[in-house]
Amino acid sequence: MATWRVAVSGECVASGSCLGIAPAWFARRDDGQSYPTSVLIEENAAVLDAAACCPVEAIMLSDAETGEPIELA
């Protein structure tokens, strides 16, 4: 099982979509933007769903070893 690196960019518009889809993996900062509760995680379907559903594609997933972006489709 691959290890992923999770990041949320400044593009985040505080939709809260990821908080609903993957509540264990994202949380909300005081300014409303989301952040990952763990930067390095085992590959995870809910986190992939959250990234695919983000309205501004602010959630970036990459392979922690190779740095390759994770395909969302």
Partner: protein
């Protein structure tokens, strides 16, 4: 017309989480503070799926609510949302902007050929979003005159005969059934064709979900934006100093769209779709039992002093984007980025090319269609 009721403001001050009896005799919890409303929208213990079959306010007919993306929780909701999310991302929407700018120009060109006063609803605020969502979905926009009455019927509120809503839904479903059959035979380069492929090749949607999703996208994609264009103009004419500021500083338009979204009330009730608790939840220090209906009142939450200072004043320069006008959580408006862009381009076009536009009928004499869940103007006569 421009402010939440005094009762709602008082509830927000003194009883922000409160059980009330609704006009139909059922009981619901009204949630009015920003932080609490946001929690209801985001927290999975407040379920949309659990509302199916319950006597709560809904959009569309009771019979079809189980198939609707609006009435599903993760992971079922996520399965449907992933099929459409990619078509509405900020990046995809930005690629549509030049087309929308051109449409705005064409509709305004056409208005210049009309005698004054002319109806902005019929000639601009309705046909613009209809054209955009139709092109995206693959629906012939000239069919607006066929489907718009059914769309209005489906958006009927609790004052309407439920049978009327069922019939409107059946008619629009039939229309989409025929359109889907045509596209199965001759696929296009549009979202409906992609959804048909997800149904047929990958079995990621049922047939009822496919029809329901197309229908929801069409309705949600135009009636909301059309009436926000109208409401934005009414608000700006109510506060002419803000209108002048925006006319003089069109670079403020994106910020102004956020402020007008926060300020203007689109829904008739001001509330978001109800949720049902799946377990006992403590919210704002109050225990809500399992199985309770909960209504997050978005419009008053957007006027919470905890969200922003002087919340009942409209300020087109207010630096705030965390309003709840598009909802939040998994049901956060799918078309939010598209709506933002269309509203920006609509304002840019109208303020830029009709700088002296004025209402030909005083705002307090304008009428909304009866029995709709959104505040839908019958007409908005303007001069320029």
């Amino acid at each position: 017309m421009f402010h939440p009721s005094a009762e709602m403001k008082e509830l927000q001050r003194s009883k922000p989480v409160v059980q009330v009896e609704l006009p139909d005799g059922s009981t619901s919890w009204l949630i009015t503070r920003y932080d609490d409303v946001r929690q209801v929208l985001v927290d999975p213990r407040f379920s949309r799926a659990a509302t199916v079959g319950r006597n709560v306010r809904r959009i569309g007919p009771a019979s079809a609510s189980g198939d609707s993306i609006l009435s599903k929780d993760p992971p079922e909701h996520t399965r449907m949302r992933r099929l459409v999310a990619g078509a509405f991302t900020a990046r995809r929407v930005e690629a549509l902007r030049p087309r929308v700018t051109k449409l705005v120009d064409e509709f305004i060109d056409h208005m210049f050929t009309l005698p004054q006063p002319a109806d902005l609803v019929e000639n601009f605020s309705l046909p613009l979003p209809v054209q955009v969502i139709c092109e995206l979905l693959g629906v012939p926009a000239e069919d607006r005159h066929i489907f718009h009455e059914w769309s209005d019927g489906i958006l009927g509120d609790e004052s309407r005969d439920p049978q009327e809503i069922e019939e409107a839904f059946a008619r629009l479903s039939g229309y989409f059934g025929r359109l889907i059959a045509t596209k199965r035979a001759a696929p296009g380069d549009d979202l409906m064709t992609a959804l048909i492929a997800a149904r047929d090749a990958e079995d990621r949607l049922s047939e009822a979900e496919l029809v329901g999703l197309c229908l929801t996208l069409l309705i949600a994609g135009h009636e909301t934006t059309a009436n926000q264009i109208n409401m934005f103009l009414l608000v700006l004419h109510e506060y002419p100093e803000q209108l002048e500021r925006l006319r003089a500083n069109p670079e403020m338009i994106p910020q102004a769209v956020e402020e007008l979204m926060r300020f203007a009330q689109l829904g008739t009730s001001g509330g978001g779709l109800p949720r049902i608790t799946t377990e006992e939840v403590e919210l704002g220090g109050v225990r809500i039992p399992e199985g309770a209906a909960v209504i997050p009142v978005l419009t008053v939450a957007n006027r919470d002093p905890a969200l922003t200072t002087d919340p009942d004043r409209v300020d087109v320069a207010r630096p705030l984007t965390t309003h709840l006008a598009f909802g939040a959580g998994v049901h956060h408006c799918l078309g939010a980025q598209l709506a933002r862009m269309e509203l920006q381009e609509a304002l840019r076009g109208l303020l830029g090319r009709m700088p002296r536009m004025e209402l030909a009928t005083p705002a307090d004499e304008l009428t909304f269609k009866n029995g709709m869940v959104v505040r839908s103007l019958r007409a908005l006569p303007v001069r320029w």
